[in-house]
């Protein structure tokens, strides 16, 4: 019980630090702390498999992606010199929205007591490492591959689509020609101009 409160306070603190840190790398470090604390909390919720998956997938792979992108983007120093706060007329409505959402959450939680399964207390106080216990790898895997097989396969497809999208977005391939090599070269040259350059009235801004 005390673990829940300690973890919760640390989670909220690290989440606020993620959002308000000065430099993006500090945000990544606080996000790593947040994910590790969440993994510990998942283990206290007897979801050990999800906790380990959280550390493997989130706290290492995704954050490493973030760090790589930050390393690639830090070649121009003026990109990260912008301050963390917008003008106050955006910050205050954002905090107001958070308060409203907190109100919804409190209303939903306090309206009726959350029905807890009668066996939830007794059956889960055993050793968390036993096979086929609730939330262990065996139990989770059996449910994933029998009862919930369709979401599992759909997830594989979602990942495939994501990989195709990322490769397409990040590749530097020249655009395909529609009516000839000169159009492709001009379109490629137009795509390599920076976005912020102003376009003249006729001609260059059009698609064809």
């Amino acid at each position: 019980m005390i673990a829940f409160w300690v973890l919760s306070i640390l989670l909220v603190i690290s989440a606020v630090l993620v959002v308000t840190a000065r430099k993006p790398v500090y945000s990544v470090v606080y996000l790593i702390a947040n994910f590790v604390l969440l993994a510990i909390m998942y283990v206290t919720l007897s979801a050990e498999f999800i906790g380990i998956i959280q550390i493997i997938v989130y706290a290492s792979a995704i954050l490493m992606l973030f760090l790589f992108v930050m390393a690639l983007l830090s070649t121009s120093t003026e990109a990260f010199s912008v301050g963390p706060d917008r003008m106050p007329w955006v910050t205050l409505p954002a905090i107001g929205l958070v308060v409203v959402l907190l109100g919804f959450l409190a209303y939903g939680l306090l309206r009726q007591p959350i029905a807890i399964h009668p066996a939830a207390g007794a059956a889960l106080n055993g050793a968390p490492g036993t096979a086929n216990a609730f939330g262990s790898v065996g139990d989770f895997g059996a449910a994933l591959l029998t009862t919930h097989l369709l979401p599992f396969e759909v997830t594989a497809f979602v990942l495939l689509v994501a990989v195709i999208g990322v490769v397409m977005l990040a590749s530097d391939a020249a655009p395909m020609a529609t009516t000839g090599r000169h159009r492709a070269r001009r379109r490629g040259a137009r795509l390599r101009e920076p976005i912020t350059k102003p376009r003249d009235a006729a001609g260059k801004g059009s698609v064809r």
Partner: protein, 85 residues
């Protein structure tokens, strides 16, 4: 909720993506808490799917940020606010 405030307030798209990751994780925590309270495995399986989809979405978001940076040389989302080009 902290993720929502962060998403609305920050201008750096990487931090906006991290705020989105915070929101995914908050949903995961809710899912797992109720999965344990109701002794239902479906909550944990859905949390697994949420982790997967969030990873895919983070990867695509980062790829979009990279492509935008390659063309505009600036990652401030207030500057790169036009969809032209």
């Amino acid at each position: 909720m902290i993720g929502v405030a962060g998403l609305l307030t920050r201008r750096n798209p990487l931090i906006m993506l991290m705020a989105i990751e915070l929101m995914w994780n908050a949903a995961n925590l809710s899912l797992l808490a109720f999965a344990r309270a109701w002794l239902n495995n479906a909550g944990q399986i859905f949390a697994f799917l949420v982790i997967t989809v969030a990873a895919a979405e983070a990867a695509i978001g980062l790829a979009i940020v990279l492509v935008t940076f390659r063309r505009a040389r600036n990652v401030d989302v207030d500057e790169v606010a036009s969809l032209r080009g």
